[in-house]
Symmetry: C2
Subunit: 134 residues, 2 copies
DNA sequence: GTAGCAACTCAAGTCCACTTGAGGTCAAGA
DNA sequence: TCTTGACCTCAAGTGGACTTGAGTTGCTAC
């Protein structure tokens, strides 16, 4: 199984070295081997980082991802409120879906205004959204 | 048309006075009337704040919302790249929808693990997600 | 052996979105 | 009149997620 340098991880994931060191510092990534002082990463880091990136874009904080990665996915510990976290985040995500839906509809309507009639168009679409009509 | 005190706005929207003053400071809310030094809000503030809240939960920064609120919804100015912003945010939101979908599926699978067989269950569901299978 | 380069540590800085705290003002009620 | 309460300003602090910069170490090549 190939091992990766910090720079190889960066080029394959887009996550900068400073971020990788920071993740390690806050315990999101567990300390891994060193060769003459330099970090060596296992290929499994790539999946971990993919999950971190997906999670962040889905509204998870790093500490929430830490609970999932360290308590759940690694099963290093059955302790902790990860059940509660999972339930809470599922609700939060459903709320986000609703909000994203609203904003998408608003922006799609606004996008279709042309610059000439911008003012009136905006008054119309804006009012429509502000008053909760479809 | 009724005017609202800062405290009334807070109770009706949940947005704290400190946040309202901050929004004003950064130009997200335009300066409004004062009565003996105290801010007086028009009822339309409620819709504006609703949009801000929805926007924030949909991943908009306050400065992005400022562009929409001040350049678009108020039509005070046709200047600025709000077209570009709208296109960019629509793409970002679609990406968020995908990410939220992935995380939801992961958490729903994890939730259904029971504590006894946690370790194995997680290995299975975790692997499934890590390797991109459904 | 020394120059170069990639990586290292540690402290400090940055951006965002606010909150907190100290001290000040003003109309209304006891 | 005097106190209370709601508001005010302004500066500084907070938490999250990193980045930046200075100074150091340790192979590798010449």
């Amino acid at each position: 199984m190939a091992t990766l340098s910090i720079n190889q991880v960066t080029t394959q994931t887009g996550v900068r070295p400073s971020a990788l060191r920071y993740y390690e510092e806050i315990g999101l990534l567990r300390p891994m081997g060193r060769v003459s002082g330099r970090r060596q990463y296992d290929e499994s880091i790539l999946q971990r980082l993919a999950l971190i990136q997906t999670g962040q874009r889905a509204g998870f904080t790093l500490s929430e991802l830490g609970v999932l990665l360290n308590n759940v996915l690694d099963a290093t510990s059955t302790a902790g409120d990860w059940h509660a976290l999972v339930e809470r985040k599922l609700k939060e995500m459903d709320a986000m879906l609703v909000n994203i839906g609203s904003m998408k509809r608003l922006l799609e309507d606004i996008r279709d205004c042309d610059d000439e009639s911008l003012a009136e168009c905006i008054v119309l679409t804006g009012q429509r959204h502000m008053t909760g009509q479809s």
